[in-house]
Each structure stands twice: as structure tokens, then as C-alpha cells.
């Protein structure tokens, strides 16, 4: 199998995987970055959300061969120093319960705020609607996004 080079969290990674492997499984099982979660495999739940050149994408729906030179950011990259305003807001609002969906929620929220620094409630609801949380932390997610937006004012 030809080696594919991925640019993950500012580091190159050469991986030997089938070209039609979804990025999610390459991150988790090949590169060892397990912060990106499997939830549905159909792009329905958002647990696997990563950034591709800064844009929120579902890693379960991205074939590894289609990425090319795009920069991949995972939760491990975003949270490297825990200084990211979204990470700080998530702790301040004590958002997670089980925590499984939260890396995807945080990646989605960070992408929202990067493009829309001061989202309205409706914009938050729309941007976050593809990320399921079964523990029901939605109210706190809304508050944390509003907090992160206020802190970056």
C-alpha cells in the first residue's frame, strides 16, 4: 500500500492504509489520536468532528485519500495548552458529563466562533445541531459558547 502523508496538528504523519479508509479510523487506530470519537459512522452525530483547514468536518465521512495537503486539527491539537477560549469556557461551565461527545462538540464550537465570533442563540443552535449529546449537556454547551464569545470580545 502506498504511504499517505497527513498533516495532523502541525506534524506530518506517514500512514500505510487503504485509500478509502475514513480519516476517523486512521486517527484512532493508526496514528493513535483517540480524542476523536466514533459515534455513528454516518455523519449523523458529530462525535468525530475535526478541522480540515480550519473548517469543522466529520472525520468518519472523509476518505483519507481525499485530504491531500489539507491541515488536520484534532481535539489534541486544539487543546494542546488548554488556553483555547472554548476549552476554558467548557471547564468554567462544567459542561461534560460522560464526556464522550465533547471533543466533537468543542471542535464544532471552535469552528463556529472562528467564523462567527459573536453568534446569536439561533446561530449557536444551527451550528451545533449536528452534534448529539446523549447525557443532555446542551444547555451548558449554549452557555459555554456564549461565554467563550464574550471572553474573546
Amino acid at each position: 500500500m502506498p504511504s499517505i502523508t497527513l498533516h495532523i496538528n502541525d506534524h506530518p504523519h506517514a500512514v500505510d492504509v487503504a485509500p478509502d479508509t475514513p480519516l476517523l479510523w486512521v486517527l484512532r487506530d493508526t496514528v493513535g489520536l483517540t480524542g476523536t470519537k466514533y459515534g455513528c459512522g454516518m455523519g449523523l452525530c458529530g462525535a468525530c468532528t475535526v478541522h480540515l483547514d480550519g473548517e469543522a468536518r466529520r472525520a468518519c465521512q472523509i476518505l483519507v485519500s481525499s485530504i491531500g495537503s489539507a491541515r488536520i486539527t484534532t481535539i489534541e491539537g486544539l487543546a494542546a495548552d488548554r488556553k483555547h477560549p472554548v476549552i476554558r469556557a467548557w471547564l468554567a461551565e462544567q459542561v461534560p458529563q460522560c464526556g464522550y461527545c465533547q471533543p466533537g462538540q468543542i471542535m464544532q464550537a471552535a469552528a463556529l466562533l472562528a467564523g462567527t465570533p459573536h453568534p446569536t442563540r439561533q446561530q449557536i443552535d444551527e451550528a451545533m445541531n449536528g452534534n448529539i449529546c446523549r447525557c443532555g449537556t446542551y444547555q451548558r454547551i449554549r452557555r459555554a459558547i456564549a461565554r467563550a464569545a464574550a471572553e474573546t470580545a
Binding site: D29, P96, G99, I132, C135, T137
Partner: protein
């Protein structure tokens, strides 16, 4: 667990503690830190006053927690209880999961919202025991009376001198002292608490926001392989034939082999395992299997057929009478007005965000298991039995769970992971895909309830009868609290035991009351689902209460308050939360057209009332705008934890109220992923206001109560908004459409 048992066990641990703690795996002795005074005792010896606490010379305190962390905060709340009495410096605390050593740790599980309630006393006693030994050690070191030595924020201070010895500095000396029976030590009064009841940030959250938290599915050990199992889509079906030729050719696939179904005690479907060097290769390999299944004999089950069976069963004979007070038949006959209504709700999936998985490594002398379970001690017992090895040859690491809601109280997944790993003889992680998860869950029972009430000429509620019909859990799952035998499987009380509670209308005062039960057969596996029977009984009871109030032209709040017997403790507590929730929700104030408020309440240890405020759109869709929940759960360990659990339980229940249903057709579950089992999403999540009643009564659980009331509160609000009575969940928008 019985309280007496708790005390006996803790007392035992107090005596045998030092030896017991030596068994604890995973501990190491870090290098000694600096101390401010000459360290008394043998240098470097850690202080392990009991099986829960370890204090080392570097002032680090490790607390072992039995309860699994499923998202409810157990690792933080347990540590708070210990640290409160220990007078520890909170910043020095770290928490680890207690290991599967059954001689010491007997409660490696959680269920029924029981975590806080069952540990509150014992964990405080454990902390107090350590504190008293540290005081004694300091008193001896200084040659002063014990009463002059006080524990303050991680140190013992000598009154009037400014002298101070940190816990770490005293660890060695304290370790040399004889054990102290924890039950003889006075505990702090609630007004002295400095951690309990305060806003203490959860210890597990930093790792949950940076991707470093290890859930079961994240376990990575050297040489790990990944597996999925192809299971028969039809419940009770069996593998007839498999052609694995193409599957074996998929790059990365190591092995393909049949997995036998395990007997009902384990409830695994069996099938064909595909083992590969990545999860994806295993899934790709499974896709290439050519499979033929034998269906079970008889007419394949369908939800439509089951509903017809239940419609008859609400009229047929009861197999079990749970409550029979007064004479309901006579009172209904004599009533001037009788109301009757049926309520129904379907099978529900747990849909935990982390799909089922377990990693097992079968080695020559031991079996190591990493599992996101809420029942590690049972997993250990069951795998030991399956493998035919002694209990101490099985080590179970209870990892973080990505949600559970009752699903991980089964051990089917660890059992089949052991089957696969036992063939491979190297570490294997068996993962369920989301499709596996939806199609092979242990579902919340489908149920139908018929309620009848009699009113006298003055509008008084004189009689009430409830018939509950469900597909009983005990018919497919009979392992907790029951010995499985042909007798218990036929015993009507055993079959009904998990199905009727929450339907007992307590503490409303109704003179003639009967609650009975009849089962309905189904091939669908069933089990606990957040709040179990109380996920459907209050829907019927509190909706019917609303129907009665409206039939009499009474205000539903006033109607309930009048039915609560004055002076009865639960009734008084209920009255308080009802009034609080109503007041916060603006009960009785005007709303725009097609909006309404609905009320529901319940006592289950914890006492709670909810008011939902909904809007019904022209297309019939229901938007829940706001929910106010008043909660009296006794003494509160973590106020924010109570709020989080209540918010979460309401959101969880709203899936079942608004959109979620598991249906069966042709002997198989029809739903397969989040597109057809639609769970609540953020845009649908209401504002939630949790009001906590201040109390010094012993703490009671909050993990489930919020889930019990969302159904009736929303259904009653829909009635207030539209005049249409919802008697079946999830709510059918076609009934409410105006255009």
C-alpha cells in the same frame, strides 16, 4: 445494600485495612517530598488507614472510588465525601478506580441513582478514620493531648503554637498506629462542611475537554487487534451458513470465525467474528461476509402485533396484584362518574454515545479486561465462570463510560469479547458499530397502562385502578437479586417486580386503590433504562391526574395539592416542590395561543416536581421551551451536580417524549442509526431551571428523577396548549396538526 452490611464491612476494613490496602494494584511509592519538620515514623512509609485512602510523604492523597464514572460525577463526589472529613487540601487529591479485588471492594457498580446515597456515610467515615489517626500521630510526636491537635486543610496544627505537620509528614507515623473502628468516630455536622454542598469543579473534566480521557473504546495495549461480530438480525435466530472467503481477503483482516450464542444468563446473540488490525478493517471484513441465518420458529414479531396483544391484556386477568386498598370494584360501581384512559409507550434504546465495546487479553495465567461497564464485579465473576478460572485470575479495569443509562449493567459485551479473545490469545477489542448498538440493545419495555378513576357526586376522587401491561424485563433478564430457576421464571411476583413501581400513586390520598399487572410476550431483549418502570408509570399516572383535574374543572396544581395528605412527610415535601416549581414557572399566568404549561410530580426517595412550557406549531410539532424542575434530594453533595443530572435526565427523557421509538418488524428492530432513532438535538433543548430545596435530610439520588417527569409534564402542557390529550409516546404530531 443494607445499611448494617455497610457498617460491618467498613468495620472489617478498619481492622484489616493495612493488609487489605497492600493488595491494591497500581499503587507505587513516589519519592519523598520535603517536609517542614522532622518526619516522624519510618521514612517513606505510605499511610493507608483503610482501603479507600492512601497518603504519601509528598502530601499526595489518593482516593479509590468503587462507583464507575459514567458521567454522573462519582469520582468527584466520592472524593469530596472523603476529603470533607479528612480535612484534606483538595488540590492534593487524585482519584483512581478501585480494582476488582472482591475481598475488599464489593460495590464496583452503580444503579438506580444509588451512588451518593449508598456511599455518603461510609466514605465520610473512611475520611474521619484517617483524620483521627493523623491527629494521634501528631499528638504523640509533639507529646501533647490529642484534643490540642486539629486537622486543617491537609495538616495537623497544634493549638496556640502555630506548629504544623502536613499529612504527608505524618504518614509514616500514622501508618504505625493500630487501626481505628471508623464507626466510633464522630462525623462533622453539616454546618461545618467546607466541600460538601459547595461548587467543587469535577476532577474528571480536564481530561474530557482535551481528548486525553480514556474510554473503553480508547484502550490501546501492545499487540491489540480489533473485532466486530456479525449478529443475526432476527432475535432468537441462528447462524446457518457463512462464507468468509471474501472477508478474509480484506487487507488487515486476521481471522474470521463463528461465535456461539451464550445462554440467557449472558444474553449474547452469537454470530461471526471478524478480527483485524484496525476497527475499520474489521468492519470492512464484516461487510464482505456472506451470511445465512435461520429464523426462530413461529410468527415473526411486529410492533403492530404486540400492540394488539397489549390492547387485550389490559382487559384480561392480572397475574399479580401490587397494591389493593379498600374496594376498588365496589367504589367504581358506586361512583357517579368514571373516567378511563390507556397510555402507551414503546421500546426505547439506550443509545449511549460510546458504542458498546470491551477489550480482553487472555493470557496463560490471567485474563485482563478493560470495559466501560457499570458493573465490574459482576463482569469479573461472569468471565471467571465462562473461562473456568478462579476469580482472582480475572482483572477488570472499569474504564470511563461514554454514557450508560442502564445499558452497561449487562455483561453480554464483555462475555463475547472474552469469547473472541480466547480464540485469538492476544488482546482484542470487540467493538459494536452504531447499527449493532441499535439492533441488539436491551430495550426499555414496551408498555400499555389502563387507568380508571371514580368520582363521587361532590367531585371527590374515591377510586383509582391501574392495570400495567409490559414486556417484562425479568423474562429476558433475571440476574440481579434473583436466582434464575424454572420456579422464579414462572413466579408472577418476580416477573412483575421491575414493571409496576412508580404506579402506586403515593402519596396521594385515594381511599380505594388497586394496581395490578399482566405480562406480554416478546422476543425483544429488555433491561433497565434510566429510571426503569418509572420512565413510563408516571406518564400514565400524572397525565391521568391532569385529565381528572380538567374533567372536574379544577386547576391541576390545586387538585394535586388537595389530594396530598397533610402531615405526611412525603406529602409535605411534595407540596413544597410543587409550589416552588409552579411559582418559578409562572403557573397560572397567561400565555400566547397554542402554548401551555403542564405539571407532574413524584416521590422516589428524592422528591420532585416539573413544569414544562411548550408551544405547538401549526404543523403539529411540539417545541418544549422551558422546564422548571424543583428538587428535594436531601442534603446536597454538589449543587451543580444535581443541576447537571436533572438537566441531563430531562433532555434524555425528551427523546422518548418527542421523537425516539424502537419498533419491531419481521422479528427485527427497524431502526439502525441516528437517522431513524432520532434523539434530542441542541436546537430542541429547552431552557431548564433547576430549583434545589435546602435540606439536611440524608442525601438521595438524582440521576433518574428528571427522566420520570418530562413525559407527563410535556403531555399535560400540550393539552393546555391545544386541548388534545397525548396518551401515547413519542407524541404524534399528526394529532396536533392545525393546517
Amino acid at each position: 445494600m443494607m445499611p448494617d452490611d455497610t457498617l460491618t464491612r467498613r468495620a472489617f476494613l478498619g481492622v484489616g485495612a493495612q493488609g487489605a490496602a497492600a493488595l491494591v494494584v497500581g499503587f507505587y511509592l513516589p519519592a519523598c517530598g520535603g517536609t517542614r519538620e522532622t518526619t516522624p515514623g519510618r521514612a517513606g512509609q505510605a499511610f493507608t488507614p483503610n482501603a479507600w485512602i492512601r497518603i504519601t510523604a509528598d502530601d499526595r492523597i489518593t482516593i479509590l472510588v468503587e462507583k464507575p464514572e459514567l458521567g454522573q460525577g462519582s469520582r468527584t463526589y466520592t472524593a469530596m465525601m472523603v476529603a470533607e472529613e479528612l480535612e484534606a487540601d483538595w488540590s492534593t487529591i487524585r482519584v483512581v478506580q478501585a480494582p476488582t479485588v472482591p475481598a475488599i471492594y464489593k460495590e464496583l457498580r452503580t444503579a438506580g441513582s444509588g451512588g451518593v446515597e449508598s456511599t455518603y456515610l461510609a466514605m465520610r467515615q473512611a475520611g474521619a478514620q484517617a483524620r483521627e489517626l493523623l491527629r494521634t500521630a501528631a499528638a504523640r510526636h509533639w507529646g501533647v493531648p490529642r484534643q490540642d491537635c486539629r486537622a486543617v486543610n491537609g495538616a495537623i496544627v497544634l493549638a496556640g503554637t502555630g506548629r504544623r505537620l502536613s499529612f504527608g509528614a505524618l504518614a509514616s507515623a500514622a501508618a504505625a498506629l493500630p487501626a481505628l473502628a471508623p464507626t466510633e468516630i464522630p462525623l462533622k455536622a453539616p454546618e461545618q462542611f467546607r466541600l460538601i454542598g459547595r461548587a467543587v469543579p469535577r476532577l474528571d473534566l480536564p481530561a474530557k475537554v482535551d481528548g486525553s480521557a480514556t474510554f473503553g473504546i480508547d484502550v490501546r495495549v501492545p499487540g491489540l487487534l480489533f473485532a466486530v461480530i456479525a449478529r443475526c438480525p432476527y432475535f432468537g435466530g441462528r447462524l446457518r451458513h457463512v462464507d468468509a472467503t471474501r472477508a478474509r481477503r480484506v487487507p488487515g483482516v486476521h481471522a474470521v470465525f463463528p461465535v456461539a450464542p451464550l445462554p440467557r444468563r449472558f444474553n449474547t446473540a452469537g454470530g461471526v467474528a471478524v478480527v483485524a488490525d484496525s476497527s475499520w478493517s474489521a468492519v470492512e471484513g464484516r461487510r464482505e461476509l456472506v451470511l445465512a441465518w435461520d429464523r426462530p420458529a413461529g410468527e415473526p414479531e411486529s410492533t403492530a402485533g404486540l400492540r394488539r396483544v397489549m390492547e387485550r391484556a389490559v382487559l384480561g386477568p392480572a397475574t399479580f396484584v401490587a397494591v389493593d386498598r379498600g374496594d376498588v370494584v365496589d367504589a367504581l360501581r358506586g361512583a357517579s362518574r368514571v373516567l378511563e384512559a390507556d397510555y402507551e409507550s414503546p421500546f426505547q434504546a439506550h443509545a449511549t454515545m460510546e458504542p458498546m465495546n470491551t477489550t480482553v487479553d487472555v493470557r496463560e495465567r490471567e485474563i485482563e479486561v478493560w470495559s466501560p461497564t457499570q458493573f465490574a464485579d459482576e463482569v469479573q465473576r461472569e468471565i471467571a465462570e465462562l473461562a473456568g478460572v478462579a476469580l482472582d485470575r480475572v482483572i477488570v479495569h472499569m474504564t470511563l463510560s461514554g454514557g450508560s443509562f442502564g445499558r452497561r449493567y449487562q455483561w453480554d459485551v464483555p462475555a463475547e469479547a472474552w469469547q473472541v479473545a480466547n480464540v485469538m490469545r492476544r488482546p482484542v477489542q470487540v467493538m459494536w458499530t452504531r447499527e449493532d448498538d441499535f439492533q441488539h440493545d436491551f430495550y426499555r419495555p414496551h408498555n400499555r397502562q389502563r387507568l380508571r378513576a371514580g368520582l363521587d357526586t361532590r367531585g371527590r376522587l374515591v377510586a383509582w385502578s391501574t392495570r400495567i401491561v409490559t414486556t417484562p424485563i425479568a423474562a429476558t433478564n433475571l440476574y440481579t437479586g434473583y436466582t434464575e430457576s424454572p420456579e422464579t421464571l414462572r413466579d408472577p411476583a418476580t416477573i412483575a417486580a421491575l414493571e409496576w413501581y412508580g404506579g402506586d400513586i403515593a402519596p396521594y390520598a385515594i381511599p380505594n386503590f388497586r394496581l395490578d399487572y399482566a405480562p406480554a410476550d416478546s422476543v425483544v431483549p429488555r433491561s433497565w433504562w434510566r429510571s426503569v418502570a418509572s420512565s413510563y408509570t408516571p406518564f400514565a399516572e400524572e397525565s391521568f391526574m391532569d385529565e381528572l383535574a380538567h374533567a372536574l374543572g379544577r386547576d391541576p396544581l390545586r387538585f394535586r395539592l388537595d389530594l396530598l395528605t397533610p402531615g405526611e412527610p412525603d406529602a409535605d415535601r411534595l407540596r413544597r416542590v410543587l409550589r416552588l416549581a409552579a411559582e418559578q414557572a409562572g403557573w397560572g399566568t397567561p400565555l400566547p395561543a397554542f402554548q401551555g404549561r403542564g405539571l407532574a410530580c413524584r416521590v422516589n426517595g428524592t422528591c420532585s416536581a416539573q413544569v414544562a412550557h411548550v408551544a405547538v406549531d401549526p404543523d403539529g410539532s411540539v417545541r418544549v421551551l422551558r422546564v422548571v424542575s424543583a428538587v428535594d434530594c436531601g442534603l446536597v453533595i454538589s449543587p451543580d451536580g444535581v443541576r447537571a443530572m436533572t438537566e441531563g435526565a430531562i433532555n434524555f427523557a425528551l427523546t422518548a417524549v418527542l421523537t425516539g421509538a424502537i419498533t419491531v418488524k419481521d422479528g427485527a428492530v427497524e431502526q439502525s442509526n441516528f437517522h431513524d432513532y432520532r434523539v434530542l438535538r441542541l436546537s430542541q433543548a429547552p431552557d431548564i431551571d433547576v430549583q434545589i430545596v435546602s435540606s439536611t435530610a440524608p442525601p438521595s439520588g438524582v440521576g433518574e428523577l428528571g427522566a420520570m417527569l418530562a413525559g407527563p409534564a410535556v403531555a399535560n402542557a400540550v393539552f393546555a396548549a391545544t386541548g388534545v390529550r397525548v396518551r401515547r409516546l413519542p407524541i404524534e404530531s399528526t394529532l396536533l396538526r392545525r393546517t
